[in-house]
């Protein structure tokens, strides 16, 4: 499996955000996307998952499931948590596992992994910023999808949780997954490729 972009461009709100971006990521590889604020990191991830229109160039997934589109094989973790405050933590996660993958059996295990098992019956409204982020990460574990698109995944996580996320990402790569992550800090994966946005322009 190989995700490959050539000469990709993106326009938002009538302005060109970036142009001429090319990269290729193979199964088992990670790509960190870096750049100053406003360089277009979030826009690139949203473009890959199909939430922003491609403004030029080509984006292709080679060797994935041919019946599914790219966005159906990808997990997107953005700045928002997609949680309903009135549902409990467990209900929120089970809903997304059923909706995204058809199963809810892994949900309990995923909650334990991110350290939220004790809060399973707790309304999501009461979670702190980092707890919400952990719950989003549990979604990645509850449903298996090969491509992870992570937008500043470590922000608001405490150091334990950051290290744990590093471990989860390494395991995902070892299992043949792909990771693209936008970040300003270290992610804890060795040998990740790097894409710098908005440098010379």
């Amino acid at each position: 499996m190989r995700l490959c972009a050539s000469d990709l461009g993106c326009r938002r709100g009538g302005r060109t955000v970036f142009e001429g971006i090319s990269f290729a990521v193979e199964a088992g590889e990670a790509l960190t996307i870096r750049g100053r604020n406003g360089a277009g990191k979030s826009s690139l991830l949203r473009l890959i998952v199909g939430l922003v229109r491609v403004g030029g160039g080509r984006l292709a997934l080679e060797g994935g499931d041919p019946e599914l589109s790219l966005s159906e094989q990808a997990h997107y973790l953005g700045h928002q948590d997609a949680l309903k405050p009135s549902l409990s933590v467990g209900e929120n996660l089970r809903f997304w596992s059923e909706y995204l993958g058809g199963l809810s059996s892994n949900a309990g295990e995923a909650l334990t992994t991110v350290g939220l098992a004790a809060l399973a019956d707790f309304p999501a409204a009461y979670l702190s910023a980092g707890q919400r982020r952990r719950l989003s990460i549990a979604r990645l574990l509850a449903v298996k999808r090969p491509i992870w698109l992570l937008d500043e995944p470590t922000s608001t996580l405490d150091t334990t949780a950051q290290e744990q996320l590093g471990g989860l990402m390494r395991a995902h790569l070892a299992g043949g997954g792909l990771i693209l992550a936008a970040t300003h800090s270290a992610l804890g994966i060795d040998g990740a490729k790097e894409l710098r946005l908005g440098e010379p322009q």
């Binding site: 966005s71 997609a82 309903k84 549902l87 059923e98 909706y99 995204l100």
Partner: protein
């Protein structure tokens, strides 16, 4: 299939939970119906004459205003992004959300109509006709409303704007709904004629609504 069932279950659950809107539509309906005679003054014959029209108008408003956050809420908390990455066709997902919405606002409205009709001095026959037309008509309103709810996502403004966009589309449902209810009570047209047209409109909107709403949601993603 299970993705759609999950969506239905979630939307129903959110609606009946604390903070959900399940019964608020009915309350709004009740309040509007109560206010009308207050504004009109106590004239029972007049109330009886315009009763069906008032109930239909109140049902229309309650139905549409309850819709405003249907997609906007999912947009604001990022759920919509994830919904788009699901494997179920967006049209079906939208239709399922419409169904959940109708079950939690439209249906309670229909059930509440008989007691509320008493305030407007309606007789049993008029009530029966009203309940039947509302039962058939409210799904039509909800599914037309889906279009507005989807448009409201881009416009970042629900409530009134939605109502303004969608109300003109609901005019046929309103006209034939009231016509059927009145026909049952006063004639001279037979009840069947406007009622059949009402059914046809509802069926059409159940088909068109989800497609148009899904298209609007796709456009809005940018």
């Amino acid at each position: 299939m299970s993705a759609l069932a999950a969506m239905l279950a979630r939307d129903l659950r959110v609606a009946v939970r604390v903070g959900g809107g399940a019964l608020i539509g009915v309350l709004f309906f009740l309040v509007v119906v109560t206010l009308t005679p207050l504004a009109l003054g106590p004239d029972l014959a007049l109330l009886q004459r315009i009763g069906p029209a008032i109930l239909w108008l109140a049902a229309l408003l309650a139905n549409l205003l309850a819709l405003d956050r249907l997609f906007a809420a999912d947009h604001e908390d990022g759920s919509l992004d994830l919904i788009m990455t699901g494997r179920a066709p967006l049209e079906l997902v939208v239709a399922v959300k419409g169904l959940a919405q109708w079950l939690t606002t439209g249906l309670p409205l229909v059930i509440a109509t008989p007691p509320i009709g008493l305030f407007l001095n309606l007789d049993a026959k008029a009530e029966g006709a009203l309940v039947l037309t509302l039962l058939v008509g409210t799904p039509g309103l909800t599914f037309i409303g889906l279009i507005g709810a989807a448009l409201a996502v881009t416009l970042r403004r629900g409530g009134l704007l939605l109502a303004v966009l969608v109300l003109p589309l609901t005019v046929p449902v309103l006209i034939f709904g009231v016509a059927a209810a009145n026909a049952a009570v006063m004639g001279p047209v037979p009840f069947g004629t406007p009622f059949t047209i009402l059914c046809a409109f509802t069926l059409a909107s159940i088909v068109v609504g989800p497609f148009a709403a899904a298209a609007a949601l796709r456009q809005e993603m940018e």
